[in-house]
């Protein structure tokens, strides 16, 4: 039993750390830190920086231009990115469509699409969920009817994250209504410029715009845009879900939030006393800190097991459940630590040019509300519990 990194891994850690120190622009790190939301320009800029270094497509095999890292290296890379407040890479092209094409794409699809993902020419988004098909994805209804060498798509997708910036979308569509619901689903690539597509913003609870509805009306898509076999899209969807789950525990984000809470609670005062010296607040904070310390090890243990087995097991659902609970608890503490200073609507701040709380905290309540999504999206925590029930408990 050894919990320490090897010398090689430590050297890699230093390399990542100094790369970030030299190349992560301040204005981007600061936008990540204060939660004000990254602009498209910032996301593009960081994408280019990583790609130039060859560290963009960390999940890609070497033959497709990935760096060929071990799971531990990927973990170190993520850890250091979080420590430096680097943005998360927009995952839809690089970490979702990329691996799908590696496994299921034709040579031509790989040759034409993958380079444009790396270069940033294409911004992909995801067309999975529908108003009636959230956790129960297999019940999706968006229809792709084959007419000659085209599919004609009609229907609606929703929760399409950052779709407002995208020029492409990969979709799960229904190409057959026969057999089990899972059997008639196909995975197709769609150009968002195609006539008949409309993207409408969804305003979220805290007022922000990060997800969208995408409407399809008689949208013609070449059959060549099908990935894998027709009616076998469910296999791809499942592959994607199980493929890349390091980072699912969000340990790095929680460590950021923990630091944030400690900073706030040290600066915020109740009378002459620092909030962090209030026994009840300190107790709540310490309890989550302990949970997070444990989660760090749980995360490494699952990573180690994945490395030994070659694939992550269903236990990763534990990381999702507990990881989101920990981060949501920390976001709750960050918000409540601010007391009345958390109350203003961030959109109305700055009118009088007055600092409401400690620096970088204006969006704290908004982030708490926005962050409630993490236990819903990506397979709700209830779905994760169902998965564990079947796979581990075998009930």
């Amino acid at each position: 039993m050894d919990l320490n990194y090897s010398a090689t891994e430590l050297a890699f850690q230093s390399e990542v750390r100094s790369f970030l120190a030299d190349n992560l622009p301040n204005h981007i790190a600061s936008a990540v830190r204060n939660g004000d939301g990254l602009t498209k320009a910032m996301m593009d800029e960081w994408h280019r920086v990583l790609n130039k270094k060859g560290w963009l497509a960390t999940t890609w095999p070497k033959e497709f231009g990935g760096p060929g890292w071990t799971p531990v290296q990927k973990h170190i890379f993520e850890e250091e990115n979080c420590r430096a407040y680097a943005p998360r890479v927009v995952p839809f092209g690089v970490n979702m469509l990329g691996p799908v094409l590696h496994k299921f794409g034709t040579k031509e699809q790989q040759d034409t699409i993958l380079p444009r993902i790396l270069s940033g020419e294409d911004w992909w988004c995801q067309g999975y969920s529908e108003p009636g098909a959230g956790s129960d994805l297999a019940s999706l209804k968006t229809q792709a009817e084959r007419v000659g060498d085209h599919y004609v798509i009609n229907g609606q997708k929703t929760w399409t994250t950052l779709g407002q910036h995208a020029n492409k979308i990969f979709c799960l569509v229904r190409t057959s209504t026969e057999g089990k619901p899972q059997q008639g689903i196909s995975f197709v690539l769609v150009d968002l410029d195609t006539p008949g597509i409309e993207i409408r913003p969804i305003r979220l609870i805290e007022g922000g715009h990060e997800v969208n509805e995408v409407f399809f009306t008689d949208v013609q898509v070449p059959v060549a845009n099908l990935v894998g076999e027709e009616n076998k899209g469910w296999t791809i969807a499942k592959y994607l879900l199980s493929h890349e789950r390091t980072g699912i525990a969000g340990v790095g984000f929680s460590m950021q939030t923990l630091e944030e809470v400690k900073t706030i609670a040290t600066k915020i005062k109740r009378g002459t006393k620092r909030l962090i010296d209030d026994p009840l607040f300190a107790a709540r904070l310490a309890e989550v800190e302990i949970d997070l310390e444990a989660m760090k090890i749980t995360n490494l243990r699952m990573l180690f097991r994945a490395q030994e087995r070659g694939a992550p097991g269903p236990e990763t659902s534990i990381l999702k459940i507990k990881g989101t609970v920990i981060n949501q608890e920390l976001r709750d503490l960050a918000r409540r630590a601010l007391g009345p200073l958390a109350a203003p609507f961030p959109g109305h701040l700055g009118e009088g040019n007055i600092l409401f709380g400690p620096p970088d905290t204006a969006f704290n309540a908004a982030r708490y509300f926005n962050n409630r999504k993490t236990s819903i999206f990506g397979g709700s925590n209830e779905i994760q519990r169902n998965i564990l029930t079947k796979t581990i408990l075998e009930l």
């Binding site: 959230g134 209030d278 009345p340 958390a342 209830e382």
Partner: protein
């Protein structure tokens, strides 16, 4: 004799307000005014005053016809049901303070003059003992007051400030102070108010107990508002469980969601109980103790209800368009007003052996 029914007067008051809000102030209208300056609807404010809603918050000696704990509870529960964003809380607290100061409050109750109560400060968010705003011998004020609810539209501020060791209450004309108005993340308006040798009128010398009464009344109002909001949030959630289908069946048929809905119901019943208790103790010797108990429990239950309602709905409740998101925001942010869960737990601990 023990009786949990509302008196006839209060039932009528509740019905009147509930009907008015249902007809004139539905959630869509609320959302259209709550997030844009002036963060409420002035014409509806006037109508509510004319209906006598605000007079129910003051006692007869002060020109009202209510003012007891249960009156406050009835009004604010109805406001909470409708997620109303009118500045009734500052009105209530101002009324209590003006009563204590034996000032006329006709224009307040008529809704023609807006008062806001300025107690909290950045380093004194909840505790009167922490206040550092000062008054000099000429009654001129210096200091910063934070999160002054309704401060964005106030004509007058009622300000807690210290003259030496003595905590007094002053009245300031809004025009004389520096007022930075803003909207709140859960709707409604507030302001930062800055005093710099600002002229003021002394209303109450040694105002500790008057302020405590205003805070106790305000806490009962907030707790009642929360109970009203929790009821609606719970009802919408249970209805959603019945209608929404996943995996070919209503999600309400999943036992996990059933039991969690039962736990929501249980905490709402408990919250209603402790609020009833606090309302019945207002003005009594244990008023602050029960108010703190209620606010602590509401802090816990409101968070549970808000978070569970969102989780059990899934993504839809994360959207601005769906009412639950707005109820959830208000339920959470109520913990940031007049003392949070831990502040009030600490107060109860301080009074652990005295009751």
């Amino acid at each position: 004799m023990m009786d949990f029914n509302l008196t006839e007067d209060r039932r009528m008051l509740s019905d009147t307000l509930t009907r008015y809000l249902a007809e004139q102030y539905q959630i869509e209208h609320r959302n259209s005014v709550a997030y844009e300056s002036p963060f409420h609807d002035p014409s509806k404010w006037t109508e509510m005053a004319e209906l006598g809603i605000f007079s129910a918050l003051a006692n007869e000696a002060d020109g009202g016809f209510g003012g007891a704990g249960p009156d406050i509870a009835v009004v604010f529960e109805a406001l909470g049901n409708a997620l109303n964003c009118e500045p009734a809380l500052p009105l209530l607290m101002s009324s209590r303070l003006l009563s204590a100061a034996r000032q006329d409050q006709a224009t307040l109750l008529e809704g023609t003059a807006h008062y806001a109560v300025a107690i909290a400060e950045p380093d004194a968010p909840y505790d009167l003992l922490d206040i550092t705003a000062t008054a000099n011998d000429d009654h001129r004020l210096s200091g910063r007051k934070t999160s002054v609810y309704g401060g964005n539209i106030a004509d007058y501020f009622l300000v807690a400030a210290k003259a030496g060791d003595c905590l007094n209450l002053y009245q300031v004309q809004a025009a004389d102070a520096e007022v930075i108005p803003y909207g709140l993340i859960d709707g409604g308006g507030a302001a930062e108010v800055l005093f710099d040798n600002t002229k003021a009128k002394l209303l109450i010398k040694n105002a500790q107990s008057a302020l405590e009464d205003a805070l106790d009344a305000g806490i009962i109002a907030l707790c009642s508002e929360a109970v009203g909001m929790m009821d609606v949030t719970y009802q919408i959630t249970v209805n959603y469980l019945k209608q929404r289908k996943q995996f070919g069946r209503p999600i309400g048929s999943f036992q996990v969601l059933q039991h969690r809905a039962v736990d929501m119901l249980t905490e709402i019943e408990q919250s209603r109980s402790i609020t009833i208790k606090a309302a019945s103790e207002l003005k009594g010797p244990n008023a602050s103790r029960y108010a703190s108990m209620a606010k602590n429990m509401i802090g816990r239950s409101a968070r549970l209800i808000a978070e569970e309602a969102i989780q059990m709905h899934g993504g839809i409740a994360m959207t601005w368009e769906y009412a639950i998101s707005h109820y959830a925001k208000r339920l959470i942010m109520i913990d940031h007003q007049l003392g949070d869960t831990d502040f009030h737990l600490n107060r109860v601990i301080g009074m652990l052996n005295t009751a």
